[in-house]
Structure formats: C-alpha cells, structure tokens
Amino acid sequence: MKKIVIIGATSAIAIACARLWAAEQSEFFLVGRHQDKLQQTSADLVARGAQAAHSYVLDLIDFQQHAAMLTQALQTLGQIDVILIAHGTLPDQHQCEQDVHYALQEFNNNALSVLALLTPVANHMAQQGFGTIAVISSVAGDRGRGSNYLYGSAKAAVTTFCEGLRARMFKVGVHVLTIKPGFVATPMTADLNLPAKLTVSPEVVAKDIVQAIAKRKDVLYTPWFWAWIMKIIIHIPRGIFKKLKL
C-alpha cells in the first residue's frame, strides 16, 4: 500500500497508472483543475480498490498555491512514496508562432509549472529521504521539430531539469524518473492523425511507468521501441534534420 500524489490526476495516462496502484490498495492525493473530473476519478479508484482517493482542486499555473497544496498532501497522506507529475497540454504550434502571449502561457503550463512545483517537492522529498519523483516529459523533448517546437522545448526543459534533479536527489536516496512516452491515444491526442501502428493505449504506457518506478529506472521510453526510434532521430545530422518535415 503506497501513498501517492498525482498532479494532473485527470490525465488519461495518470489514471491508467493510478488504476494499477489502486489494485494494490494505495492511498491517493489527486490534484487537478476540474472538480467534477477529480471526483469521478476518485470514485473510480476507490471502486478499483484504493484505500482512499482525496481530491484537491488546483490549476497548476497558479504557482503561488503549490506549497499550500503540498502541505495539504502531506497532512493527508503523512508521507509521499510516489509523486507523479502528469499535467500538460498540447499547444497549437501555428498559434504559438503568431501569438506570443499564447506561446508563453503554454510554455508556462508545460515547463515552468513543473519546475516551480518540483522545487518544494524536491526539498520535501530530500528531507523525507525516500520515495520517487516521476515526471512525464516526452520524446518530443529530445529534439526540436518544426511542427511542434514550443511543446518540444518545454519538455526539453523538463527533461534537463529532471536530469540535474536526479543527480542531486540520488545522494539523499530519492529516485527521480523521467518518463518519455511516444504516441498515446488520450484526450490530448484525440484530434490528431497519429500513425496507428505506433500509437498505444494509456494502459500500455502505464504498465511501463509503474514498473519503472518499482525498478527505480532513471529514464523510461515507453513503449520500448521509442528508445530505438529516438536513438536514430537524435543522430540525424542537423543539416538533414532541418530539411525534414517532422
């Protein structure tokens, strides 16, 4: 039975992870921005075996409230075995190119809100001296693509931040996992024309995530073949990469 905090708990990927932990009678502290969705998620997890699933409404863009939320989580759960940070949005790249305000807002939500939150979280976890900080980044952060570089750069920031944080946390016994999913069929991608053969369900990704946390892996590509795809993509020379329509 684990004590688990989920940030962006209404994410399809996060829910699929939570269902696996619910079967082990874990207790949850769920953070999201829509009360009704949180409430439905919580009822589902309890029916699936969770010890309890407490909800906390917060828009993560409201950085000022992060500390209060964390205090409440600790008061409720007593300790944090796993904190999974899953919230995110997929910006419209074209709009980002035309509208600075929109671009920065998206960057805030996908990058800065994560870095901001990780700061008090890391301090608490360091003090606690155990547990896992798992952060959902993306394969999109491994390389800047013409079609998606605002999102990609936000995820790159998250990935790099987590790499440094891992080095710091390792010394105090805290595990940091960077999760890099490929294409996953979730509400975020419902409107996209994803290649069917490369797209998996949130359940497939969730199994990998739960296992990577148990095995204290550093970086997870999920499904596994993305590790190979990204090895190739990372090595495409810049001169060629800029000509590709990716």
């Binding site: 439905q40 009822a43 029916a47 699936r48 509400p187 419902a190 409107d191 996209l192 024309n193 069917a196």
Partner: protein, 440 residues
C-alpha cells in the same frame, strides 16, 4: 476529429465511421449536440462487436463511448455495481471476480461494453435460466438530445427503460448503468462435453440438461449432411463450488493484418469441422476450467475477424420457437450444407422463457442458430433469402446485432413493437440498420 475510422465486427457493410471520442460524462451532452448539428444524426459506438450495421450511424459519424470507462460505485456486499457505459465486460470481471461476483449474463466475448450489452439486450449460455442482460439491469442514466439526463428503471421512466433495453442505441446515450451481479464461489467452471450424431440427439440432450445446468450450448458441424446432419458437440457447465477466485490472463494470439482474400473457404472449413468433431472422444468429457476458455474461446485470438479478408463476413443468427424448432433448424442446415459455405463454429442454443423488459429483445423460447459466412455474392443473398423464408414460416426472427441483410418487411414482421421504439427514438440518433429496416 481523429482520422481513424471505425467499422463493425463483420466489416460488412463497409461504411467507415468517423469517431468523436468521449472521455468524460460531463462532455457527452455537448458532443452529442455538436454531432447532431454538424451531421444531422449520430449513434453511440461501444466496442464495435456488433457484426452488421446496427452500430454504424446513418450519418457515418459516431460518438465513441469506450473512453467512458470508470466505475462509479461498487457494493461488494450485495453485488451491485454502477459503472460508465464504456466499461467492458472484461474490465468488470477483473474487478468483480476476486470479490466473488460474476456477470449474470455474458455473451461469447468479454470485449463488449456495458452500453452495447444493454442496447442489444445480449444473451448467453444461461438464457434458459437467467434471461437476457437487461433482466439484471437495475437502472441507468439516459441522455437525449431533446431532454435533460434521466435515470430510468423499472419504476421510473419505465417506457424509456424498456425501450432502451434492446433499443439498438436509438433512445439516447446511456452514460452509466447499475447492474446486479451473480454470486460465485469460484472462477472455475465444471465443464462437460459430449458428442451428438444428429439434430434429434441435440434436442434430447438439451431437454435433459437445460433444467439442471446454468450453462448449455452446442457447436455443430454445419457442413455435415445426410444422417450426420446437425452432428456436433454439446457443452454444459456450472460455476464450481470451491476453488480459486482468479482473473484469467492468458497471452493472446493475434491476426496482425487483413489478408486480401478470405482464408475461410469450403475446403478449409470442411477439414476444420471434421477434425474438430472427431477430435472429441465419443464419451462424455469432464474438465475443471477457468471461466475464460469456457465463455470466451474466440477472445484468445484478437482480431480473428480479419481472417475473412477485406470483404468481411456476415453472421446469420435466428431464433425459432420451440414448436417448430427441430424441423426449421433441420431445413436451415440442409440449405447451408448444400452450398458448402458457413463457419468454423455454428452455435446452437436453446433459449428459455424468462421475459425481458426490452421492447425489441431478440430471444424467444425456442432454439437459436448462429453462424458466420464470408462475404460472397450472390451466394449470401440467395442463401439468406431461402433461410429467411424458413425462419419466417417457422415464426422465428433474426438478431439485429448480427444483421446486415434483413429486409424491412421481415424486420417489421419479426418485431411488431418497432413502431413504439420509433416513437421513443431520439430524433438525433439513427443507425444504418434503422434506416435500412424502417426508413428506406
């Protein structure tokens, strides 16, 4: 809107459906209204395990409900579960079996949604004792484009309750369902099987075992002729009284892609059926098996529908009233054996007399016959029309969930209450099937 399109299980008729996936109950109403405004009508699409065109919207734009896969409340004391309509039977079993509860009624695949199970009022191997799925539904929430959400039960909005059970998805979108489960002591099944040499022997076995066992079904070799006509294997079983309460997880095989032509032809079929029949020893066999191979043998191979190739296939399922059953099934099998088409598994099952609340529920007291045919023309059209006359003359009917060919005249004759359903239909919902059998 996602570019992936959906089809029915038989992949015939080919009307690719654009899908608007819905993930939250709070988004159902907006999605429903938008689809209707944009395309004239829509239809809920569960998991596409219906064979013909009853799960295809006449606008070809469906509202995909599989994303509504949350449980809402579980009362393990009394075995009452409330869950969203997109929850699959497999997901429900995974949760309920360790608590000692099973589905009161299950079709031959666990990959259907609760919404789909209600909309076709599905039946299983225990129809003779428990009736249809709808007999165990306590209540559900129905969302219509012309009204606010209503909770329907035998007490409240009972007209909509009855019309929605077996209502082919036409009365509204079901957002959640509350179901009474069946208590079990073990997830194992005491399974027995025995060979029978012809149709008369099937009827004897059914008469003998139906009253004593929870589950009965028969597989028949649809190509056997003459004195072997209707030979097959009779299977019966009960939930074991002791043993594990375990969810079964068997590695699945898959048919990875659709071959250009059907792999099922009369030669492969005859060979398979003959081997299957003779592999079974002549004597009574007993085994203690997990629920999965007993109820869901076909689920072991995912995408098995692809073996029929790009043209797809049709299932023919009819039910014949008891009085005329033996003669009519005999005549049907003769027609099928004569053309040498048909499927690996022709399924024969006696249905009982437990009444369903559903207005358009398919089963009636008698015998149901179901089998698959590769989509071949004009073979299917001519064969089906001969079979339809036999069914009609015998006072039987066809199952809309499996249908891609029934004529409008036959449908109205088989289901005289169709006009009551039509008057309760949500004007924004319409299927390819409904258009074909009532509006064409």
């Amino acid at each position: 809107m996602s570019a992936t399109t959906l089809s029915s299980w038989g992949q015939y008729p080919a009307f690719p459906q654009a899908a608007r996936p819905c993930f939250w109950r709070s988004e159902l109403s907006t999605n429903l209204k938008q689809l209707i405004n944009q395309f004239g009508n829509t239809l809920a699409y569960g998991n596409g395990r219906s064979y013909g065109d009853s799960c295809l919207a006449s606008s070809d734009h469906v509202l995909a409900t599989r994303g509504l896969n949350r449980f809402i409340a579980a009362d393990w004391q009394n075995g009452i579960i409330r869950a969203e309509a997109g929850v699959s039977l497999a997901e429900l079993l995974q949760l309920s079996i360790p608590q000692g509860w099973f589905l009161p009624v299950t079709p031959g695949t666990q990959y259907v949604t609760l919404g789909g199970a209600v909309a076709n009022d599905v039946h299983g191997k225990n129809h003779h004792v428990r009736g249809t799925f709808g007999c165990h539904v306590r209540c559900f929430e129905l969302l219509r484009s012309d009204a606010s959400a209503q909770i329907c039960s035998p007490q409240d909005h009972s007209d909509l309750f009855n019309a929605t059970i077996g209502g082919l998805g036409l009365t509204g979108i079901i957002s959640w369902i509350e179901l009474q489960l069946l208590p079990i002591q073990s997830s194992l099944i005491q399974s027995y099987s025995t060979r029978f040499n012809n149709l008369a022997e099937f009827f004897q076995l059914a008469a003998e075992h139906d009253s004593q066992h929870e589950y009965t079904v028969a597989w028949i070799d649809c190509l056997a002729q003459g004195k072997h006509l209707g030979r097959g294997i009779f299977i019966y079983g009960d939930h074991a009284e002791t043993g594990e309460l375990a969810v079964h997880h068997k590695a699945k095989l898959t048919v990875p892609l659709t071959p250009p032509i059907s792999l099922i032809n009369s030669m492969s079929l005859r060979a398979f059926n003959t081997v299957y029949f003779h592999k079974h020893p002549p004597s009574l066999q007993h085994a203690l098996v997990s629920y999965e191979p007993f109820f869901y043998p076909l689920d072991a191979i995912s995408h098995w529908n692809r073996i029929y190739g790009k043209s797809g296939f049709q299932q023919y399922q009819c039910v014949i009233p008891s009085a005329s059953a033996e003669a009519a099934v005999h005549a049907l099998l003769q027609e099928i054996a004569a053309v040498g088409s048909g499927s690996f598994l022709a399924v024969l099952k006696r249905c009982g007399d437990v009444p369903s609340p559903g207005l358009l529920s398919f089963p009636l007291p008698g015998v149901s016959l179901a089998l698959d045919f590769p989509q071949l023309e004009p073979l299917n059209t001519t064969l089906f029309s001969r079979m339809d006359s036999i069914v009609r003359a015998a006072g039987g009917r066809l199952y809309p969930a499996k249908d891609a060919h029934m004529s409008a005249n036959d449908f109205r004759h088989f289901y005289p209450k169709w006009s009551s359903l039509e008057s309760l239909r949500d004007p924004g919902l319409c299927s390819r099937f409904w258009q074909r059998v009532t509006l064409a």
